[in-house]
């Protein structure tokens, strides 16, 4: 298969690689370079300023707030989402009543219905989901508070997104709502590939469901859980959190910077405040956080691979 091989390879790779290099790789390299300049983004002139932007960043209170919020996103969101998803997936696949003469392990009735419904938010744009929940959270006329009034909790009328101590949690709840379904389906597929004789053996030995979950399901599903963890963390640090915070919160990022996340801060510095160089500096910090997060999860979660 040597005839014209290299011509073919070059011909096939040139366009995709060129496009990728021009629009993805080149901007990444540029932005690291720009973080050492005083470029505003508005005029083409700039000069090198060394580590000035990085020094400024270390003294920027809002940067530290955004870092804190992003870290909270990366820790809490995967934890809550994956725990909920594992629980639902286990209930759907293994939680069913044992029927006489039926299989030892069975899902609850209507398991495929649950899987279809839970997946709904995953196909919707996060922008649409955010808009919807922004209405639901509205303190006066929103669906949540009027539901609370409807069941007699007139005294309990939180400001939700308007309350600096609540706003960040409201935003996170929306992200949990929209991503749990994906992981339920993902884990269900993983659970379906665990051989049933393992469950049979455990049940014969008298293990209850909780023991079955922690001793069989979770260890055998660990690889999937771990890659889900990394995937969710990257989402929570990046594009998804940008959309929810930018669309839902006042400011955006408010009230009082209580919901500013790193990715939003980069956007605001670059495209609102005309400080492109400083924005790329925060972007580099975001890159470091993302890579560190992935490395930590892979390292902490490493364990002997189980073949079954």
């Amino acid at each position: 298969m040597q005839h014209g091989k290299y011509r073919f390879i070059v011909g096939f790779l040139a366009v995709p690689l060129g496009l990728y290099g021009l629009f993805v790789v080149w901007p990444f390299i540029q932005s690291i370079y720009y973080s050492f300049t005083d470029w505003t983004g508005l005029s083409p002139e700039f000069k090198m300023v060394g580590f000035d932007n990085y020094k400024r960043m270390l003294h920027d209170e809002i940067f530290w707030k955004s870092l804190q919020h992003s870290l909270l996103f990366a820790l809490v969101l995967p934890l809550v989402t994956l725990a909920l998803a594992l629980f639902f997936a286990f209930m759907i696949n293994v939680g069913g009543r044992r029927r006489r003469g039926g299989p030892v392990i069975s899902g609850v009735r209507g398991s495929s219905f649950y899987k279809i419904v839970y997946f709904f938010p995953q196909v919707l744009s996060i922008a649409i989901v955010s808009l919807l929940f922004a209405f639901a959270y509205n303190p006066d006329s929103g669906a949540i508070n009027s539901l609370l009034r409807g069941i007699g909790l007139d005294s309990l009328q939180p400001l939700w997104l308007g309350d600096p101590s609540l706003a960040l949690w409201c935003v996170m709840a929306v992200l949990v709502w929209s991503t749990v379904g994906f992981f339920v389906v993902l884990f269900s597929a993983g659970m379906a590939s665990i051989p049933t004789d393992l469950y049979e053996a455990a049940l014969l030995d008298g293990a209850d469901r909780i023991a079955t979950f922690f001793r069989i399901t979770l260890p055998l599903l660990w690889d999937t859980v771990q890659s889900g963890w990394v995937y969710m963390g990257i989402l929570a640090l990046g594009a998804e959190s940008f959309a929810v915070v930018q669309i839902m919160t006042t400011g955006p990022g408010g009230p009082d910077y209580s919901t500013t996340v790193m990715v939003l801060y980069v956007y605001q510095k670059a495209f609102r405040d005309g400080q492109a160089a400083y924005a790329t500096t925060i972007g580099v910090a975001l890159l470091v956080v993302t890579l560190a997060f992935a490395a930590v999860v892979m390292r902490l979660g490493r364990r002997e691979r189980l073949e079954f």
Partner: protein, 307 residues
């Protein structure tokens, strides 16, 4: 994951082996009761979450048929009559029709481009040995874990300098570039699983490399292309961050942007019912497509993460 049925390797390092968990055989009555309680409990939780998922969506559909005063006055009340005019207003006055058209053009163009270019790159990377193969592969893969926002700041000026800012074709090119990492990753793995003998036979019969690719390999890779196509379709249809930065001209807005813009401008225009109609209009086609192609969608979206 491997599914060889050996019963031996039960979790060894994570504590007790399964066999030691409990040993008494005569537990039948207790177990039965536990099963019933647990069953009711698990059903309850599952139903509750299903309601929590469906409720906001149904609420949005219901609200899109109400008039403005009842949206704010009594959010949970059923509409007094079906205000279809909301939908008409959203479609024409609020430019939803333009946003739809823009989105269809952008997603259509970038989906085709992504699949063609992605499969070409993936095929070469999966099937040919040449110096730099690994490097190019990892260059593509690396794009999956980098925060896109970091690149967006310089990208804005790259696109601007090329005169592609606020153009449909500019957006298409950027969408393709940012969809390539996952597409190449997924399709490279897929092409590796296809048998080599067919391509070799075609080659022996005198077909050129590119003819072998387009007439033999692409049809064989159809299942993979469908999965990754659905994945990219949803990602590109729902894309919000890229157009927000690169496509600021209101005439060129895509659906997600247009809706957000609409929501912001309602502060002074006050056509909330029209906005809800727009929201539902944007939701329904994807939800309908999902319900019809449910199996393929789920496969497409989870396939990458299971690898």
């Amino acid at each position: 994951m491997k599914t060889t049925d050996t019963s031996a390797p039960v979790p060894a390092e994570s504590g007790l082996p399964v066999a030691e968990i409990g040993t008494s055989p005569g537990k039948a009555p207790k177990e039965k009761k536990e099963g019933t309680v647990l069953n009711a409990f698990s059903h309850g939780i599952l139903v509750l979450w299903a309601i929590m998922v469906v409720m906001p969506l149904l609420w949005a559909v219901m609200t899109s048929f109400k008039d403005d005063s009842s949206i704010f006055g009594s959010p949970w009340a059923l509409p007094d009559k079906l205000h279809f005019d909301n939908w008409a207003r959203a479609w024409t006055d609020a430019n939803m029709s333009d946003y739809f058209l823009n989105t269809v053009l952008v997603v259509g163009g970038s989906l085709i481009g992504t699949l063609v270019l992605g499969s070409m790159a993936a095929y070469v990377l999966a099937r040919f040995d040449f110096p730099g193969n690994r490097f190019i592969y990892f260059l593509f893969i690396g794009g999956m874990s980098f925060p896109i926002m970091l690149a967006l700041v310089p990208l804005f000026y790259v696109v601007n300098n090329m005169g592609l800012l606020n153009t449909i074709h500019g957006l298409i090119l950027v969408y393709i570039a940012y969809s390539l990492p996952f597409t190449v990753f997924f399709l490279t793995a897929f092409f590796r699983t296809l048998p080599t003998s067919v391509a070799e036979a075609a080659f022996v019969d005198g077909a050129s490399h590119s003819r072998t690719f387009f007439q033999i390999m692409l049809p064989m890779a159809k299942p993979g292309l469908i999965s990754v196509g659905i994945f990219n379709f949803l990602g590109q249809w729902n894309q919000y961050m890229l157009p927000t930065v690169l496509n600021t001209d209101p005439d060129k807005h895509v659906l997600t942007q247009g809706l957000v813009q609409l929501a912001v401008s309602q502060g002074y225009k006050g056509d909330w019912s029209g906005l809800f109609a727009g929201l539902v209009m944007a939701m329904l086609p994807v939800l309908a497509a999902y319900i019809i192609f449910q199996r393929q969608v789920v496969q497409g979206l989870t396939a990458g993460a299971l690898k």
